[in-house]
Amino acid sequence: MHLVAQSLDFALSHRPEIVVALRQHIALSAAAIAAASAICLPLGVAASRRPWGRSVITAVNAVRVIPSLALLAFVLPWLGLGFTSALIALIVLACPPILVNTDIAFRGVDQYAIEAARAMGMSDAQILLRVQTPLALPVVFSGLRLASIEVVASATLATLIGAGGLGDIIMAGLELEQPAELLVGSLLAALLAVAAAAAFSAGERLAVARS
């Protein structure tokens, strides 16, 4: 109870810093997810339709084994400290789950439904929009959800290259040996990850209901 009281006390007394860190964290994560989606959703659809798709997916899956901390260390020499470096590292991190799930989602659409749609005189664009996309949405969204959790969690490391975020609070807590501060930072990061996942689940329900 002692720790909880201390944490609450810390949170209330450091509200401005916490809000800044939270904002930075959200901005960084949202930008990374948005950029990764913009790149990987179309790429994933394209990969699912072409023979080279498989090799791209295999290559991207190989990138996945690189830990997020190593990624940050990787971009540092080229881009230096700050927001851009952290953003790029997080985009690289977010891409594989989005790309892989999009590819799998579109490959998984019942080929006979597609054949029937084509035979009924739907154009390629109509098949993509009216048949493939609605059927692929759930798996695409689960990729987005996965990516958002990874990004929000890994964005806590952005503090190491001076990009701020909730990592600032966590690191300060570690250095100053303040468990309450550490707990507040970690808890907020965890809540943010859950919120991001929930947001994508809600988005999925909405999209599936409307399609």
């Binding site: 019942d110 006979y112 054949e115 035979a119 009924m120």
Partner: protein, 324 residues
């Protein structure tokens, strides 16, 4: 849509898939007159499905031409070509994210019919394929049995009232009783509104039940093309004879409809003459003739449709054979 259904003509059609040693379809020249119910029969791998798919250009032939109503299909936009052809496949391919009525409404929506018109047409079609509209309209495909799904698939294919219907083993995954019902319904649909139907199957009984014109394929070629009765009387090759079981004539005659050997009744119409229903098979008719009747009246309720005689059956058998 009152124009008569178009002829489908294949002119030396060859299809070789990339990497395949031999052609899947190897020089098919064939004419299917407008309004004919043509059944392509053959073992798996004989090229029957490939040939079917060249008609709506899901597969483009490597060489040769396909004419529909005299027009070279290669010169027509495939999307437009396909709108005039219903397509029913064994795996049905219903859209799982749409309700039954949305599935059926696909083509009418594509061509931009208005909502009231579409709704009327959907109800009409659900009724045509014998599903109660009120109960089934809003269901999803996965809530239906295999046979019901195929009924919806058939309704969807008929939605824009296409003059051509392409069917690829449509009842292959349906249980035997339901299959017989569906065959009867497809035959009844054809009797109501003649379309040019191209129906692929490996089921000999099904082929004999449905075909006006039977096309036997083997190794990418047409082995014989003739009306069922004629093919039964004169199979062109030993392969055809074995495939259709030509030595079991009685069984096959049970599948062929009396109309295959129907002749005009003339002016005599004795009410006490022995008669058969117009839905009867030639097998039924033959049993009665063998019982000693000189001829049988074929009646549809009170209407006299024509007569069946042994000589007439033989004539019909010879008539088609010379045409092949």
């Amino acid at each position: 849509m009152s124009a008569s259904p178009p002829e489908i003509r294949f002119d030396d059609v060859v299809k070789t898939f990339g990497g395949a040693a031999r052609a899947a379809v190897n020089g098919v020249t064939l004419s299917i007159p407008g309004g004919t119910f043509a059944v392509i029969l053959g073992p798996s791998g004989c090229g029957k499905t490939t040939l079917l798919k060249t008609v709506n250009r899901l597969i483009e032939p490597s060489s040769g031409f396909i004419f529909v109503g005299g027009v070279d299909t290669a010169s027509v936009d495939p999307v437009r070509l396909r709108r005039g052809m219903g397509y029913v496949i064994q795996n049905v391919g219903l859209f799982p994210h749409m309700t039954v009525s949305e599935n059926i409404a696909t083509v009418p929506r594509l061509v931009g019919q208005d909502d009231a018109q579409i709704r009327r047409r959907v109800d009409e079609l659900i009724d045509v394929v014998h599903l109660p509209p009120a109960e089934y309209r809003e269901r999803r495909p996965r809530a239906l049995s295999g046979g019901q799904q195929q009924r919806v698939g058939l309704a969807r294919a008929l939605a824009a009232d296409p003059p051509i219907l392409l069917m690829d083993e449509p009842f292959g995954a349906v249980d035997a009783i339901e299959r017989t019902h569906l065959q009867d319904e497809v035959a009844a649909l054809h009797a109501q509104r003649a379309r040019t139907v191209l129906f692929v199957t490996h089921d000999v009984d099904e082929a004999f039940r449905l075909a006006d014109l039977l096309i036997v394929m083997r190794d990418g070629r047409v082995e014989q093309s003739a009306p069922p009765l004629a093919m039964l009387a004169r199979p062109a090759t030993a392969f055809v004879s074995d495939l259709i079981g030509a030595d079991d004539v009685v069984r096959r005659l049970r599948a062929i409809h009396v109309s295959a050997a129907l002749e005009p009744a003339g002016e005599t119409d004795a009410a006490d003459e022995p008669s058969v229903d117009s839905h009867a098979s030639l097998g039924d008719a033959l049993s009665l003739l063998l019982d000693g009747a000189a001829r049988l009246a074929v009646r549809d309720g009170a209407d006299l449709r024509g007569v069946i005689t042994v000589a007439g059956i033989l004539r019909a058998a010879r008539r088609g054979a010379t045409a092949s």
